[in-house]
């Protein structure tokens, strides 16, 4: 247990250092700052509706940036190790591939969460500066967003072991963004299709990651209040279960991968 804890700590630290020393993360953070600070200053016509529109834009930016960071973090876990040949001395150490995978995953999630926390500080700051406030839905929205990031890292990690970087990032982004915007409507779309296509769409609905479950932006913006805790916990359990399955599949692929 002590060995696992030390190994995990080392991998988490490596992920943090890599994320925070990369220039692209700073470019992203600066971009976030550059977009959100003006949003926090703006009070268009003093109208509540317009203010909510700004919140929506800011939250969409936070979601976009967090997805970008999560997919990048997942993608960078193993392919660079193979490219730079550091996978050999790493696997020659007393660590199994399964532990390495889990440790690296935890590291990437922790690093992505740190960036997401920074974006939320910016967002909450921008709302407060405009004189806005949050109710009980904010903690729920943040927790679900963090769960979504963990899910996105897992999907990107799994894809990185199967296809090239560009293919993985494109496919993962298409699946997650597609489900984010259209996931809830898939059963509706299936109704108008021929049986074969309808079945295909139903399978997609059953298997694809339901990114839309984690989206509480509208509740946050319009102040609709927190969701029922049963529903909230179900979504969290769904995230944990989905991540578990994806990491298990990644473990199978990594163990079969020839080094």
């Amino acid at each position: 247990m002590k060995l696992f804890a030390r190994q995990t700590c080392a991998l988490v630290k490596l992920s943090f250092i890599e994320l925070w020393r990369r220039n692209d993360i700073f470019a992203l953070l600066l971009l976030g700052l550059a977009l959100m600070v003006p949003l926090s200053m703006a009070t268009p016509f003093g109208a509540g509706g317009a203010s909510r529109y700004l919140d929506e834009m800011a939250l969409l930016l936070v979601w976009g940036f967090s997805l970008f960071i999560a997919l990048g973090a997942g993608q960078r876990l193993f392919p660079p190790e193979f490219d730079s040949r550091t996978i050999y001395p790493l696997l020659a150490k007393p660590i199994s591939r399964g532990r390495l995978l889990v440790g690296k995953y935890i590291g990437a999630v922790a690093a992505s969460w740190s960036a997401l926390a920074f974006f939320y500080v910016l967002f909450v700051g921008s709302v407060v500066l405009r004189g806005g406030s949050f109710a009980a839905e904010l903690p729920q929205a943040i927790v679900l967003h963090f769960a979504f990031v963990a899910l996105a890292v897992a999907i990107s990690l799994f894809g990185s072991l199967l296809v090239t970087a560009s293919a993985n990032l494109s496919l993962s982004a298409i699946v997650l963004v597609g489900m984010f915007f259209f996931g809830r409507n898939l059963p509706e779309y299936a109704e108008g299709l021929n049986p074969a296509l309808a079945w295909a769409l139903k399978i997609v609905y059953a298997v694809a990651p339901h990114a839309e479950f984690f989206d509480m932006r509208q509740r946050l913006i319009h102040g609709w209040g927190a969701v029922d805790y049963g529903v909230f916990m179900t979504v969290l359990i769904y995230a944990v279960w989905y991540i578990f399955v994806v990491i298990l599949l990644a473990d199978v692929v990594l163990n079969r991968k020839r080094v």
Partner: protein, 243 residues
């Protein structure tokens, strides 16, 4: 007097990739405290053999035993140090952070890592560059960082893949002295190399590979001749290239 135990024991080891045998029926033994040079042309099966010794690849047939056990067991690998041929270590880390990272992976506590890091960086000549990012290191400096990470867990067996690659003459001499020091401390060393002179100066035994087969295996002292060219002659003769 009891005989030294076999640290490395390969028996009839074959590894095939898509039906092509990269290593074919290899048998090798290396006793505690010995230094073995593993020679052969490119594609002879040296790296594949090393990967099997580290548990990174399973043999298609035959048995691989390292330190009395299966090298795919992490507990066995806790006593092995490995330096790959050329690795571009994490460019965002510095040498001290690199060793702290590998120390954590080996399960060493922070205090041990710190004390070993200081000693190792000094001995490989990277103490002055310890806080520089690895992306600014030359190939030779990366090799030295590589040997430092391989020695971090104070291994009983040191496996080095082409350790002299990329080293300038001075670094080569330092590296040779470092390996000699390890040998004097009773470490068992197995290294693949194209550097016949270095191999002859350092090794007790040599094994020569050709197209997956071990075509020569024996003590260096048995090679008759006149100094540094001995092994070169033997190498050419064994590979059928002698004029």
């Amino acid at each position: 007097m009891s005989e030294c135990p076999d640290i490395v024991q390969l028996e009839g080891v074959t590894r095939a990739f898509a039906g092509i045998k990269a290593v074919d029926g290899l048998s090798l033994k290396l006793k505690a405290g010995e230094v073995m040079g593993f020679l052969g042309t490119n594609g002879a099966g040296k790296t594949t053999t090393i990967k099997m010794m580290l548990g990174l690849l399973a043999p298609t047939s035959g048995t691989v035993k390292v330190l009395g056990g299966d090298p795919s067991d992490p507990r066995i690998r806790a006593h092995i140090g490995y330096m790959p041929e050329v690795a571009t270590y994490y460019p965002y880390l510095n040498a001290r952070e690199l060793l702290a990272f590998y120390g954590g992976i080996c399960g060493l506590d922070a205090k041990t890592v710190r004390s070993r890091t200081d000693a190792l960086l000094e001995s490989v000549g990277l103490a002055d560059a310890a806080k520089r990012p690895l992306k600014t290191y030359s190939k030779g400096m990366l090799q030295r960082a590589g040997i430092a990470q391989a020695l971090l867990n104070d291994p009983d067996l040191l496996v080095l893949d082409e350790p002299f690659t990329g080293l300038d003459p001075l670094a080569r001499i330092h590296f040779r002295e470092l390996l000699r020091g390890l040998k004097e401390r009773g470490k068992t060393i197995f290294f693949s190399s194209h550097e016949l002179g270095e191999t002859e100066l350092l090794c007790d035994h040599v094994a020569i590979m050709k197209k997956g087969h071990c075509v020569y295996q024996g003590p260096v002292k048995d090679i008759a001749g006149d100094g540094a060219t001995n092994l070169e002659r033997l190498f050419l003769k064994t590979l059928g290239e002698a004029k």
